[in-house]
């Protein structure tokens, strides 16, 4: 008896295709820079960003020591921005990993086993997907009390159904393929077939969605912090915008600057998603 090898995406071809896409490369470079800022925050701005360091309401460019100005309490906006990067990226990536893990597990089981298990899990997915996700998010955070881990968990809880749906439909079509039939014929266990035969082939759409999910999580975290439902002990982009909200008339830069940070980061993640999609699905890309 011979094994039918599972087709795998040719990694080098994918990488080459990705590198040929300028938008994707620029986005990835920008995100690496943002990640470096997040890691380097304690070195760049060793002091607590919540500390008063200068005269309040310095406009950007007014004082070269504080290029982005200071807020109503004399805190350095640039320091807040750099420290806020940590919160955004931490929440964005952790929530994505948690959400993808949950979605993969549930979607894989539903799609692979089918039948009643599938019907029940699809209902579960639907129950979680029906409530407006931001309203459900607020409820979860309000009940669990605002802090970084609860925010991460809550975002994962409202985003996993997206991944689960994709994984389920991939598994449903892949489980009928020859190489899976062959693995079954060889007497492989369910866990082995799911993990090493089907999963690698179901990953490309998950990877694309994951990068968009990081963007969604960052947007959700910033909106929560803006509403005052973020971690009260940490500076985040959303809380900086919320803090500047009452001062729009006199110091709109306080809200504008962190907003640009969010827009650029989220834009980069969405462009990265598009570029990954083009690299992983060359047929679709050619039609565009």
């Amino acid at each position: 008896m011979t094994t039918v090898p599972a087709p795998r995406p040719r990694r080098w071809r994918v990488l080459r295709a990705f590198l040929r896409n300028p938008a994707g490369v620029v986005s990835l470079s920008f995100l690496i820079l943002v990640a470096a800022l997040a890691l380097g925050a304690p070195h760049l701005y060793p002091d607590d960003p919540m500390e008063m360091v200068a005269r309040p309401f310095l406009w950007p460019g007014q004082n070269p020591a504080f290029p982005l100005g200071t807020d109503s309490l004399g805190r350095d906006v640039a320091a807040g921005l750099v420290w806020g990067t940590r919160v955004s990226l931490l929440v964005g990536f952790s929530a994505m990993i948690l959400g993808v893990t949950l979605g993969l597990a549930i979607g894989a089981v539903a799609g692979y086993f089918g039948g009643r298990v599938d019907a029940a899990l699809v209902k579960l997915i639907e129950i979680f997907q029906t409530p407006p996700s931001f309203v459900l998010l607020i409820v979860l955070v309000a009940i669990a009390q605002p802090a970084i881990p609860t925010v991460i968990g809550a975002i994962a809880l409202v985003t996993w159904p997206t991944i689960a749906r994709i994984v389920r439909s991939e598994f449903r079509s892949l489980r009928e393929k020859d190489f899976v039939m062959a693995a079954r014929g060889l007497g492989y266990g369910h866990a082995r077939i799911i993990l090493s035969e089907i999963l690698p082939n179901a990953l490309p759409p998950v990877i694309v969605t994951a990068s968009v999910l990081v963007a969604t999580a960052i947007l959700m975290e910033s909106a929560l912090s803006f509403l005052g439902l973020g971690d009260p002990n940490l500076v985040s982009w959303g809380s900086m915008i919320g803090g500047g909200r009452e001062l729009l008339r006199t110091a709109w830069y306080l809200s504008a600057i962190p907003g640009f940070a969010i827009v650029l980061t989220v834009l980069a993640l969405n462009l990265l998603g598009d570029a990954l999609n083009d690299a992983l699905n060359p047929r679709v890309a050619a039609e565009r």
Partner: protein
């Protein structure tokens, strides 16, 4: 099959599928309410001031809070069946009444945003598809991608800075000029002026969603054989586009548009909060700030049911638009 029969079949199918989902959401809601810190007795005790252990215990027994979980769930379902979502001491009125009071504001804002997003999205998407690969397509692609990436609350604030503070053209909050004494057309225009900024804030993300969907759908339909047939009839490009291309492209766009209703409701929380718009979203925010979990979960339940209802309507619309949908 006639249109009416198609619609009835779709309605029956949808209602049957919606019932277990709605029930699931009610149960989820109940458990979330259980998880919320404090119970109704705590709330009442806090309202009335001092309360002893003894009175608390009596109160709990009276409210049925000492019963097993399952009995409590049954009681909750029973209350729901009578249209009761509990009482809000903070607002001093039944939660259901409070929510129904705020619902029209949200529906109006949603309707405005949805209409704007649908029209602009359809327009942008069509322009992009017709100019695929050319400069107009690229420019609009960048624009929609930016719309896609901008946080709603932030663009709301920036619109206030630009159009209320700097230019002074539009009001920065509320749903009407208070005590203006306006009537008739003036009143309607006043409401509309208040709706433009929050509505645009809410619509922006969905303009991007619909534009991308429409672009893909129009490009897909435009290469179908029946479009060539339409051109061979001697129809003008406009007539071909409207009666044949757009009409068919609407099918996938409406289906997917329905999937974003929940997103719009979620976005309404942010937009209503930024613009002090008296609706469900702002009510949810206030409920969080006041730790009024009855109200908060009432909003969650009602907005979920609203999503279910809208999805049924979208499906009916789909059955109306697509003759190939048949009985199942």
């Amino acid at each position: 099959m006639t249109r009416a029969a198609r619609l009835l079949a779709a309605l029956r199918r949808n209602l049957l599928a919606a019932i277990p989902t709605a029930l699931g959401i009610v149960i989820l809601n109940f458990f979330l309410l259980q998880l919320a810190p404090g119970d109704a007795a705590d709330v009442m005790a806090a309202e009335s001031g001092a309360a002893t252990e003894e009175t608390m215990r009596q109160l709990r027994a009276q409210l049925g809070l000492d019963l097993p979980l399952l009995s409590q769930l049954m009681a909750y379902l029973g209350h729901l069946a009578q249209g009761s979502l509990g009482f809000s001491p903070r607002y001093n009125m039944p939660v259901a009444e409070l929510i129904l009071q705020r619902l029209p504001g949200t529906l109006m804002l949603m309707g405005f945003a949805l209409g704007l997003a649908f029209l602009l999205g359809l327009f942008f998407g069509t322009v992009m598809a017709l100019n695929a690969g050319r400069i107009a397509d690229r420019a609009l692609s960048v624009l929609t991608l930016i719309f896609y990436s901008v946080p709603g609350f932030w663009i709301g604030l920036m619109l206030i800075v630009a159009f209320s503070i700097k230019l002074g053209w539009l009001p920065s909050g509320g749903s009407e000029t208070i005590a203006s004494g306006k009537t008739g057309l003036d009143y309607a225009l006043d409401r509309l002026r208040h709706m433009i900024l929050p509505g645009t804030t809410l619509a922006l993300f969905f303009i991007a969603v619909y534009a991308r969907l429409t672009r893909a759908a129009v490009m897909e339909v435009a290469q179908q054989d029946f479009v060539r047939t339409a051109r061979a009839k001697g129809l003008s490009a406009f007539a071909v586009g409207r009666r044949h291309v757009l009409r068919n492209a609407l099918l996938p766009v409406t289906t997917l548009a329905g999937m974003h209703i929940g997103g719009i409701l979620g976005g309404a929380v942010v937009a209503e909060t930024v613009f002090s718009w008296p609706g469900l979203g702002r009510l949810a925010f206030e409920a969080v700030m006041r730790r009024d979990y009855n109200v908060l979960l009432g909003v969650l339940l009602l907005s979920s049911l609203l999503v279910i209802v809208v999805n049924i309507l979208v499906d009916l619309l789909h059955a109306w638009l697509d003759p190939r949908i048949d009985l199942r």
